[in-house]
């Protein structure tokens, strides 16, 4: 098949291999498709020949009519009708099955490859864009696979038609060959002028629209309160208009293409009628075969073009597919000291990072977690952070991020994320430390209480504690908490801090804490001023005891 694809089609075979598209089933689908196409042509051609011969025999008198063997052609006509129906059903089912199963496989493998990247250098994939790549682009590829048997059948049916036209004489055959060979070239020329621009524009506008929509959906409450739905729609409108216009252009161009193809087909039939020199039944057969041939070639040209317009999407998936998807073995790390700037902390230390909003406290936690490139001179043991593999960082740090991100799923799903083999009793123990056990126990669904992007049934503070429980479960030597008591009332905050203290005492794990609230800061014995860290690595970090930390919270950057 690849020989018939336009140039620049390199990514396809690799992607199909990655998708594990079942070649045997695809071949069967192509076979069915070819049968269906041949049966369709045969049905028309045999009918035409039968009619004309019958008319000639009928007019030649009763004897000729009686001698005319009508059994074979009329049985052939019925057989062809049945073959066509069955084989088309088979083709459709098989090609869809192959494509859908293959694409499910491809989506999974693309996800694995993305997941195997280092967060510090991974391409920044926004939610809208991710769905475009993993859903829309793969869907386009799926479409391509589904149509592949039909493309092969189109070639077969064009060849069969040519063979039938040969009954109309050599001149007709040469004429039709030229007409058919010219069709894809002409079609491509015309389409490139008419449809390529709108098709690309439509795809771009759709991706853009999706991204913006996801963002706006996040501000539901405010949009509802001020009746800003119109404003939000105005935001979307230019993109939607762009999409509509591109689509309208595309439909117009396609309709025009269809019309031109019909005219071309008519001209081809007329040419055959003029050129064929054989008996009337043969000419009739040749003419009907010509109709099928032009139709088949038109379909083939159209699908080749569609293939070309999908190139951008295919290249995008190919880029993802080219990523190295090898997962590295987890590392078992011995507890090692941590150096922040010039301050060295032994394993098990409890350190508070301080500084005004925006000074980069969260950034340091994210760097240690391997989620962002490092901005400050940080070392683990003697090794600078940048030189360490993500596996080394993962094995040492467990972070509860500021925004307490939760996977869509249940409480248990989110806790299981922490490490493999988390048991229910582990979960309850961690929830107890995070002061969330009673809340979850009260909930009807227990550990299966749903959690979604908006928190589901959990409030902001509850999500936060769930995120803490998750970090505790990970069992890494350093626990990192970013604003752990944000969103909590004073009583819950005090209880949480006390139980965290107990947990740290029991496990001997270290703590790195960012908080602007006083109560959690009491957990820490040492503190590091972040501003000094990131500004001058050679300078002695501006570190001190916690007593003067209040005075240092000056510059309000909001």
């Amino acid at each position: 098949m690849s020989a018939h694809l336009p140039t620049g089609a390199e990514p396809l075979p690799d992607l199909l291999a990655a998708a594990g598209v079942a070649r045997r089933q695809l071949f069967l689908a192509s076979l069915c498709s070819s049968f269906a196409a041949i049966a369709a042509i045969g049905l028309l051609a045999v009918s035409g020949w039968f009619l004309t011969s019958a008319a000639l025999a009928g007019s030649a008198g009763l004897a000729a009519a009686a001698a005319f063997n009508y059994l074979v052609p009329s049985a052939a006509i019925r057989l062809l009708a049945i073959v066509r129906t069955l084989s088309r059903y088979g083709e459709r089912l098989l090609s869809h099955k192959v494509a859908l199963e293959g694409m499910a496989q491809l989506r999974g493998s693309l996800f694995d490859k993305l997941a195997a990247q280092d967060s510090r250098h991974a391409p920044d994939t926004s939610p809208g864009e991710a769905s475009t790549r993993l859903i829309d682009d793969v869907e386009a590829l799926e479409d391509l696979v589904i149509r592949q048997p039909a493309r092969q059948a189109a070639i077969v049916s064009a060849l069969v038609s040519l063979a039938l036209v040969a009954f109309g004489g050599g001149r007709a055959l040469v004429f039709l060959s030229v007409v058919m060979a010219a069709l894809p070239v002409l079609f491509r020329r015309i389409s490139e002028r008419l449809t390529r621009g709108p098709a690309e524009e439509a795809a771009a506008a759709l991706g853009h629209l999706r991204i913006r929509y996801v963002e706006l959906a996040g501000c539901r409450a405010e949009i509802a309160a001020y009746g800003l739905a119109d404003e939000a729609l105005v935001e979307l409108e230019p993109i939607a208009l762009r999409l509509d216009k591109a689509r309208a252009d595309l439909f117009r161009a396609e309709a025009l293409q269809g019309a031109l193809l019909s005219i071309y087909g008519g001209a081809a039939v007329a040419g055959i009628l003029l050129l064929a020199r054989e008996s009337a039944p043969m000419v009739a057969l040749a003419m009907l075969a010509t109709v099928s041939a032009v139709e088949a070639m038109g379909g083939l040209s159209r699908s080749l073009l569609r293939r070309a317009s999908l190139d951008a999407g295919l290249r995008r998936i190919a880029a993802l597919n080219a990523l190295d998807g090898c997962l590295h073995e987890p590392v078992i790390a011995a507890p090692s000291p941590l150096t922040l700037g010039t301050r060295r902390f032994s394993a098990g230390a409890r350190v508070a990072l301080t500084g005004p909003s925006g000074s980069g406290k969260t950034r340091i936690l994210l760097s240690l977690a391997g989620m962002q490139p490092s901005s400050a001179p940080l070392r683990i043991g003697e090794a600078p952070l940048e030189g360490l593999s993500p596996e080394h960082l993962k094995s040492r740090f467990a972070l509860s991020p500021q925004d307490a991100p939760m996977l869509i799923g249940t409480v248990a799903d989110n806790l299981r994320l922490a490490r493999p083999g988390v048991t229910e009793s582990d979960m309850w123990a961690a929830l107890k430390v995070a002061q969330l056990d009673r809340r979850i126990a009260r909930s009807e669904a227990g550990l299966d209480t749903p959690v979604d992007e908006g928190g589901g049934l959990l409030s902001g503070g509850e999500r936060k504690r769930l995120s803490i429980a998750r970090a505790l479960l990970a069992g890494r030597p350093w626990l990192m908490l970013d604003e752990p008591s944000e969103g909590l009332d004073a009583a819950t905050e005090a209880a949480l801090v006390e139980s965290l203290r107990g947990w740290l005492d029991r496990t001997g794990n270290g703590l790195i804490l960012v908080s602007h609230r006083k109560v959690p800061l009491a957990l820490c014995e040492e503190e590091v001023e972040v501003a000094g860290l990131s500004q001058a690595s050679s300078h002695v970090a501006n570190a001190g005891t916690r007593k003067d930390s209040g005075a240092r919270k000056d510059a309000d950057t909001g």
Binding site: G58, A65, P127, L327, M371, S395, L457
Partner: protein, 411 residues
């Protein structure tokens, strides 16, 4: 998307599917009325077949749509959270989960398609049968060998014409069947969207001027959350704090007052017992909506008629003066992601928007959360000052803000 595909592809094809065959039958009739009758005759079993296959596949289409939506959501969710997943070393486990989900969708889609293709096969069969019957009839008629007295005299040219027209008879319906899958997905999507289409209409009766907020016996009841009964009253100019343990339903109570949640029972109205004026409630969000444009436009989103001087005054008042000086005043461009703005600055944009809206009742969701001590103090001072001219209800657990309020409503 599914609905659009249905409208674009299915609707026009449907019309032509009804009219097309009749037109073809009419055209064929003068050449051979028998052939025309044969075509129409095959139409009946075909329609029956379509109906049977159609009902079966509708249910499957609904199931598939639910699975597709879940898959789409799961993908976006898992890819968004990849840094977190990598951090906990859960790549392989989550990867398996994603594979299971994609496999499930493929399985369901195939089961929908199986029925769709079956209805297609029924159609194909009758279309082929129609052509075959017409061809055989015409052939025998031309031969003069019909097993019954010839109902009409057929010659080659009309016979050929009839044969050429036969495939056209079923063509519109074949296109219809091809579009049928889109119709089913579209209908399932429409059903899934139906609950969202019916937003409560604003109270038509114009309410009296706002003279305070009165909440009586308010009870909210959702799975996993129950609030109330709550009873409280706020003056026309007031500052009250809705406090309570985390998860006790503070934000939900605000949403109920803003008319965005339907309470299980109780009433929310003005002090004199009227309904709250339509468009009388401002919402200062923790993460306000930002749209691409100037800062001025963003501030005045809820008050499009505000003059530049008003906007500037309010911006200074909420403490955006520094940003204005730093980044070029009200004309400073803002993109929809709010690049270059801190969390506190966004919070202030939300507050400025609420003030500019001129609405008498302002609901603030955690106005001081995530702010450092000094920023929080500034916001509290601002709310206190505002309470001399507006009625403000904050949801908070910040003791400083609760102390600054006239009244604490504990949940």
């Amino acid at each position: 998307m599914a609905i659009e595909n249905r409208d674009v592809r299915f609707a026009p094809v449907k019309t032509s599917a009804v009219i097309g065959p009749l037109v073809v039958a009419l055209i064929v009739a003068p050449a051979s009325w028998v052939a025309s009758a044969i075509m129409l005759g095959t139409l009946l079993p075909f329609t029956l077949g379509m109906i049977l296959a159609g009902t079966a596949s509708r249910r499957a289409a609904e199931r598939q749509l639910a699975a597709l939506a879940a898959l789409s959501g799961l993908f976006v969710d898992r890819v968004t959270h990849l840094p977190l997943i990598r951090h906990f070393g859960a790549e392989a486990r989550i990867g398996r989960q994603v594979r299971t989900a994609t496999g499930e969708v493929a399985r369901r889609t195939i089961s929908v398609l199986r029925t769709a293709f079956l209805s297609n096969a029924v159609l194909e069969f009758f279309s082929a049968l129609s052509i075959a019957l017409v061809a055989v009839y015409c052939g025998f008629s031309l031969l003069g060998l019909l097993p019954f007295p010839a109902p009409e005299k057929l010659t080659l040219v009309p016979a050929f014409f009839v044969l050429a027209m036969a495939p056209e008879f079923y063509l519109p319906m074949r296109r219809l069947a091809a579009a049928y899958h889109e119709k089913q997905l579209g209908e399932a999507a429409e059903q899934a969207l139906a609950p969202f289409a019916s937003t409560p209409a604003p109270d038509p009766q114009a309410a009296a001027a706002f003279d305070g907020l009165r909440v009586q016996h308010l009870v909210l009841s959702f799975p996993g959350l129950s609030v109330g009964p709550l009873d409280f009253a706020l003056e026309r100019c007031d500052l009250a704090a809705l406090s309570g343990a985390t998860g006790s339903g503070k934000t939900s109570t605000l949403a109920a007052i803003a008319g965005q949640l339907v309470p299980a029972s109780g009433c929310i109205g003005s002090l004199s017992g009227e309904a709250l004026p339509h468009g009388g409630v401002a919402w200062a969000a923790q993460r306000p909506l930002l749209i691409a444009g100037t800062l001025a436009r963003n501030l005045a989103l809820a008050a499009p008629c505000a003059s530049e001087a008003d906007i500037l005054a309010v911006a200074r008042r909420v403490g955006l003066g520094d940003v204005l000086a730093r980044r070029g005043g009200l004309a400073m461009p803002i993109d929809h992601a709010g690049s270059g703005l801190s969390g506190g600055e966004r919070r202030r944009i939300g507050l400025a928007r609420a003030i500019l809206s001129g609405r008498p009742l302002i609901l603030c969701d955690e106005p001081t959360a995530d702010l450092d001590a000094e920023s929080a103090a500034a916001v509290i001072a601002l709310l206190k000052e505002l309470s001399a001219e507006r009625c403000i209800l904050v949801a908070t657990h910040d003791p400083a803000l609760i102390r600054a309020s006239r009244m604490e409503i504990a949940l």
